[in-house]
Symmetry: C2
Subunit: 324 residues, 2 copies
């Protein structure tokens, strides 16, 4: 892939590059290594909340408001639960905002890749590509509020939690599981009955945790379908970035994210190495023993690892045991 073209803003090269990065493997790692020095400038904003809260519409409005400020906007729509939804809907919203042909906006949808860890990692990698390609703000929309969304949101500098009135408020808020990591709350569809009560409940629940230094998450009302409130959300996003930078929390978020990504990749690599050293006949035998209730998974796992450790040592010409 032509890394210079990606850095230069060539959209075709960018698309191809993201596909290669999503696919993973050697090529992806080479691309990411080449792009990495150019990353670290984008403001990464996660948008999460239950299905049906109008996140795609809000994201389209935020993108339009950010474009008014001449900021380049990358958008990633992540759907951990399904390959069917997410990106297409968001694409429609962007077309309605006349942003589809705007070279300052780039949208990409990502669906489940078999495992959650895999999805969170791939999302982080695609964020890095957009960051390197010079997008000032990267909006990452996730659907739902499970652990996957929390993992993905944690990689963001700013996290927006979107709720709507009358959805069983206490339940949806409690469910968010992202109260602790929310930087900004948005009550969308605020023209509906119960919006004030919804906001009050959010205020109560978010007050239960300790507010991170110098920042109390604001609770903003929007009617995204009509664009109402989008400008205020963008202002809050920018204020939050300033607050993070002033308190030094920006650096600590970057550091925490670097640790998380490094550990995830290292764990994955280490396991691949290890797996490659286990003969499939040994593995199959162990699986059979667990399946027939002759041994439990923990005992079997220890035996499996002990086998390969012994084998490694033998290959290296050392007697097993007593090496630490």
């Amino acid at each position: 892939v032509d890394v210079q073209a990606v850095l230069g803003g060539d959209r075709r090269a960018l698309s191809r590059c993201i596909t290669l990065v999503e696919n993973g493997g050697e090529t992806a790692q080479q691309i990411l290594a080449a792009l990495h020095p150019h990353t670290g400038r984008a403001h990464i904003v996660g948008i999460t909340g239950p299905p049906g809260t109008g996140k795609s519409t809000l994201v389209a409005r935020l993108a339009a408001a950010l474009r008014q400020r001449h900021l380049r906007v990358g958008i990633i729509a992540v759907d951990p639960s399904s390959p069917f939804t997410g990106g297409a809907l968001l694409g429609d919203r962007l077309r309605m905002q006349n942003l589809a042909g705007d070279p300052g906006v780039f949208i990409r949808s990502m669906a489940t890749r078999g495992s959650l860890g895999g999805l969170a990692r791939a999302t982080g990698d695609v964020v890095s590509v957009l960051d390197a390609a010079g997008f000032d703000v990267v909006l990452v929309e996730t659907v739902g509020t499970g652990q996957a969304e929390v993992d993905i949101a944690q990689a963001a500098h700013t996290v927006i939690v979107v709720v709507i009135p009358g959805m069983g408020d206490d339940v949806q808020v409690a469910k968010a599981g992202v109260l602790e990591i929310a930087s900004i709350f948005v009550v969308n569809k605020a023209d509906r009955e119960g919006a004030d009560r919804c906001a009050a409940e959010l205020r109560l629940m978010s007050g239960m945790g300790a507010a991170p230094e110098g920042w109390a998450a604001p609770i903003l009302m929007t009617v995204a379908t009509r664009g109402e409130g989008a400008e205020e959300v963008v202002e809050a996003i920018i204020s939050h970035k300033r607050s993070l930078q002033q308190t030094g929390l920006w650096e600590s978020r970057v550091l925490a994210n670097a640790r998380r990504r490094l550990l995830a990749v290292a764990q994955d690599l280490a396991w691949r190495e290890r797996m490659a050293s286990i003969p499939s006949s040994v593995m199959d035998d162990m699986v059979r023993q667990v399946a027939t209730y002759q041994t439990d998974p923990y005992t079997a796992a220890r035996e499996l690892l002990a086998t390969t450790k012994g084998k490694d040592a033998k290959t290296a010409g050392v007697a097993a045991g007593g090496d630490r």
Copy 2:
């Protein structure tokens, strides 16, 4: 912990045992090893679907219907997104069904344990404990339809996907992401408008995939608040078990589950071992390099692993390199 008491049906011992198993570590592994020979008899039934579909009410009704058949019922309410909800609600439902004091019913709620992998593993372990304790059917209720729920549901023999009419049908069904693994579909709140259309859409979507041998997932209507349809769901659960056993799919599910659990545990153990061999100063330095964009996570991970491999070899008195 007194394993004999657990096997003998002592509820207090069972509660304590589950807590220890949830906490993990050496004790958990010893308990699971002792209980493992007594497992493999329970029929594990996963119940999943979006929030607000009445799963807890349905689970309470299913438990009551199973008790009518004198089957002992274990219930695990898993909420991957939050520590606040799930178990309490289900407990209320059971009290309404007069099942709370029934020694033939045991309920346990589990919330997020930091990581999804951790939750799926802990859930599998608690299922094993209830299995060993002699519960004939273990109902595992998960909230939401993300990858976590799919992972947890995959460990079940029978998977029930619950939806309701008028929730944006195509979206909720598409989102389920569990179409492929659904054994039984339930349209709950079937007295609402649109129930027939909802069922028709499910029929259409489930027909798109290839039906597993000998079993086409039935689409059943329930009004769980009034108990309507619960008996039919229980009949479908029992029919599905019979079908799995006749086609040999029961064994292959057990085998696949054993493989999944073994791999998850082995990966975790292997990584702990490996991590223990990495000095925290080396780790911190690598994290700093990634955070300051001097190196990318993939290159850093490879260097990190290479360091410890070298160190291991040195400790064992062997020159590094060339060993495979």
